[in-house]
Each structure stands twice: as C-alpha cells, then as structure tokens.
C-alpha cells in the first residue's frame, strides 16, 4: 500500500453518487445499485435506472463473481505512471448479476487470459483511503 500522497496513478474523484461504491470497496465489498422496479442491477452507479429509468434504487452487495467479456493487454502504458506495470490486463467483466465493469485482472501470466474465463473479485488497498476492486482468474 502507498500513502495517498505517493500513489501516482489516477485516483477517482469520488462524488456523492459514487461514494457508496468506493466506501464499500474500502470495506472489501462489491456493491452497486439494484432497481426495485425492474429488478436489474447496473454499473457504474446512476441516479436513475438506465434500464427502466426508475429512481427506486437500492445499493446491494454482489457476489464478485463473473466472467471475462473482453480484455486487452496493454503493451504501452496509459501514461508514465503505468509504465512499470506493462504488460498488464484491462478487462471488462460480465458480473453474474448482469452488469459489466471495467477492471484489471491480476495474474502472473497475462498471456493466459481468455474471453469466458471465470473470475473473482479481490480488493487491492492501494492507499489507506482507496481500494480498487480487481479480479483474479479462477484457473490461476
């Protein structure tokens, strides 16, 4: 873990609409809004359900399990602060509850990632104030 001051990568500028997600992540829970009207989860968190546009939403913890919907291996970094990580995997995970989320897959062998791989969340406490939900391959 880094100090907040020494963690150089982009840190989310947390706002009232997104705070419950980041607070839950700090407590090592993956949480997102679920619509009471249509029953669907969504991510990232919004004020209105993007599926049925209801405002009757509740924050719910999800399983943290899903599969790789797509991914890329960054061979060039997203700026100098990521240079030491190359090559690294950015993946879009289709969570078992439905929503897709962008994240990293943490693995010793980036070449083994495939679409459809089962994954599980793991929480990376990058600073005392910030935890990033990343994923690992169940086959790893």
């Amino acid at each position: 873990m880094s100090d907040t001051a020494t963690y150089e990568k982009p840190q989310p500028v947390i706002d009232p609409g997104t705070k419950p997600f980041w607070d839950a992540a700090r407590a090592h829970r993956l949480s997102m809004p679920k619509c009471r009207a249509c029953g669907q989860h969504h991510f990232y968190p919004r004020e209105l359900c993007p599926h049925c546009h209801s405002d009757d939403l509740e924050w719910t913890d999800v399983s943290g399990k899903g599969e790789v919907y797509s991914y890329t291996i960054a061979r060039k970094p997203a700026g100098p602060v990521f240079a030491a990580d190359v090559p690294y995997v950015i993946a879009m995970i289709a969570l078992d509850e439905g929503p897709r989320m962008l994240t990293n897959i943490v693995t010793k062998d980036v070449e083994q990632v495939r679409i459809g791989d089962r994954v599980t969340v793991r929480f990376d406490d990058v600073t005392p104030e910030l935890t990033l939900p990343k994923f690992t391959l169940d086959k790893d």
Partner: protein, 388 residues
C-alpha cells in the same frame, strides 16, 4: 419552391510530415481552412450566417464557447450556431443540422470548421481524461485511451466471429495504397500484411499500424441553398440523407462490443431518407481511427452482415482498383488524423463527387456515403451525398 441545402465548398490546409505547413495556432489553421472552403465555393466570408464548430481546443476555464470564439476571430456575426460535439463524427452531424437550418430558412450560408495542432504541440497521450464523473470507473485501471476500448471491441469481435488480426491488417494495407496516391498524405510508403503484424504491439490485439496517425490538420465545409449555389456558379453536391446516434461514452457502457449500434441507427435513418439501396453507393468514406473501426462500421452500415467484415475486406477489396473503394484519401490511418477526423471524410467525398481527386479519383462516382464515428465507438453520423 422549397429550399434545398447543398455543399458548395470544401477546404483544408497543406500538411508536411503530419504538421501544418508554415505552422500556426489552432485559430490560424481554422481560419485558413475556412478561407480555402469559402474561396472554393466562391462565397465571401461576410455572407456566412451559420457557424458550426466542434473541437478539442478552447480557451481554458469553465465552459467552452468555441463558435463564439471562432466567430469573433473570423469577424462574423452568425445567427445560427451549432457546437454539437459527439466526437469525430460531429461534422457529419453538423452537415445534417446545417441542412435543416438552411432548409428552414434559419440561415443561408453555413460554415463547418475544424482544426488541430496536436502534433506540433505534442499534446496527445494515452493517459486520457481526469478520473472524474463517469471516467472514475475507467481511467483508474490504466486503460490506454482511446486505443484500449477499441482493442477490447476487436477482441470481442474476434471471439464472436473468428475475425483475425490479418483481416484487420488488410484494411491498413489497402488504406496505405490509397495514401500513396495522395500527395498530402503523411504516410505514403507501401506496407504489407506482414509489416502490420510485426508492428509494435500497443494494446492487444491492436498494433501500431492498426492505429490512426497523430497529426495536425484543419478542414472546412461550406453549405448554402441550391439557388444560392447557382447564383455563385458553384457546383452543388446534394445531400440525400443523414442520421446520427450515440449509445455510450464509457467503453464499459457500450451495449455490445462486437456491434457498432450507433452506426446501425444512424445509417438506417440516412438510407431511409435517401431512399437508395446499398447498390447505389459508389464510394464509402468511413472513420478509421483503428482498423477495427472500419470493419465494424462496414457491418453496421449493412454492406455486409454482422461478423462478415473480415471476409469483406480480405483480398484487398477496398484498395485502389478493388471492388469497394474506401477511404480514398488514405484515411486517418495514413493521410492525417488531427484528433477529430470526420471533417476530412466529407472533404474527400466532395472532391471525389466533383471529379477533383487527382491520381486517386474513382471512376463514375455519383453517390457517396460518409460515416463518422466518435468517442470510443460511441457516436455515429451518416451522410449520403450525390452529384446529380
């Protein structure tokens, strides 16, 4: 008689090695492109009463007022302004909006302008935007912007349809052949599929030669009524149909990574309005930010079925002399890509429709389809143009 909006002038600025010849600020290069397009139309700047601007430039600070700034710089007082910015496809949407404004009598002469000096300024990075609002769920993971989103779309397309990296390379090779016929193109030396495959890996499965250039550039379009075009003796290009759509901003919110939904929506409306079939299209100019963009666009426009784009572009079918002339100026891949490329699709289509494209002129072009894509496969706007 009903007013018909037509395109009467196009202009750009000369480039050398991807930089504007003679240099200049982002305002200067836009003024030069605007003057070139107005001279091409034979219409004086003082007649411009509609200004349509989208760009990546602006006076820093809260809010950006690009048409107000550029109008002042050009010394005009527009009574119609449109700063719709849906990414690189904005200019195709501007043509649609200007056509509606002109036909409604809301303005008489519309000027669409874009310019960028990003290469001279070395302002482009893969780092993307600050992690605020929706971007707090994208940029914290280190996704190279914008290539990473396109790379994930390519990977998904390969997974669903068996598309190969070699098929994507076909597009880069064919586009380079067109660029070799364009004296203004930044990259003109021939490349092979092997060259593309061996080029530097950026964000798998996309490699350097799958990616558009980073250059300067400026372009402009002038539109007016058919009646006014006649009065000025300029040759009108007719606008048969148009459509636009956007589906997402964050790549995580794209409805289907293997389908370009925005292009499906935009082109459906444009074809319906034009009342023509795909067989009537002689030439396509479509946004080529990356090779995968082209492949997914061709499918979404309906020139082939979903998943058949790889076979469609194989065997250099889109190269000079091929069955399907595409991106005849050398595209964003090899001609220029100054951040938002969509205006150059229109400039090239008009030159082709007028028979003014020099060594790269395609025979018997009567109807051309232009399709812009913006954001990360986020927005699409289609224009169908004809010279008769």
């Amino acid at each position: 008689m009903a007013r018909e909006a037509v395109i009467v002038g196009v202009g750009d600025v000369p480039l050398k090695d991807g930089k504007v010849v003679g240099g200049g600020s982002v305002l200067q290069v836009q003024a030069r492109a605007a003057k070139a397009a107005l001279d091409n139309a034979g219409i004086p700047m003082r007649d411009v009463d509609g200004l349509l601007v989208a760009g990546l430039w602006g006076v820093p600070g809260p809010g950006q007022l690009p048409s107000v700034t550029l109008g002042e710089y050009l010394g005009i007082f527009p009574r119609f302004a449109d700063t719709t910015n849906i990414g690189g496809s904005a200019f195709e949407a501007h043509v649609a909006h200007a056509a509606m404004a002109i036909e409604k009598g809301y303005c008489d002469v519309a000027l669409i302008v874009y310019g960028s000096t990003q290469k001279s300024e070395r302002s482009r990075t893969l780092g993307g935007r600050p992690p605020v609002l929706t971007m707090q769920f994208e940029n914290v993971w280190g996704i190279p912007q914008p290539v990473g989103g396109y790379a994930m779309a390519a990977r998904r397309h390969m997974h669903e349809f068996g598309t190969t990296e070699e098929q994507l390379a076909e597009i880069a090779v064919a586009t380079r052949k067109w660029a070799s016929l364009n004296p203004d193109a930044t990259m003109r030396d021939p490349i092979s599929i092997d060259d593309v495959m061996a080029s530097t890996r950026i964000s798998d499965p996309l490699k350097l030669l799958d990616c558009c250039l980073v250059t300067d550039g400026a372009g402009a379009i002038v539109m007016t009524t058919a009646e006014n075009a006649k009065a000025h003796g300029s040759r009108p290009i007719h606008i048969r149909g148009y459509g636009e759509a956007h589906t997402h901003w964050s790549i995580g919110a794209m409805p289907d990574l293997a389908r370009l939904t925005a292009a499906e929506m935009a082109s459906k409306r444009a074809f319906d309005m034009a009342g023509v079939s795909h067989d009537a299209i002689d030439l396509v100019e479509c946004y080529d930010s990356f090779t995968i963009t082209v492949l997914m666009t061709l499918e979404a426009l309906g020139f082939c079925k979903p998943g058949e784009g790889g076979a469609f572009v194989s065997g250099q079918r889109t190269a000079p002399g091929g069955a399907f002339p595409l991106n005849t100026n050398g595209g964003g891949l090899s001609y220029c890509h100054p951040g938002m490329y969509g205006i150059f699709l229109l400039v090239e289509a008009v030159r082709q429709l007028r028979g003014e494209a020099g060594d790269r002129q395609v025979d018997n072009v009567q109807t051309a389809l232009v399709h812009g894509t913006g954001g990360t496969l986020s927005s699409g706007a289609t224009v169908i143009l004809a010279n008769n």
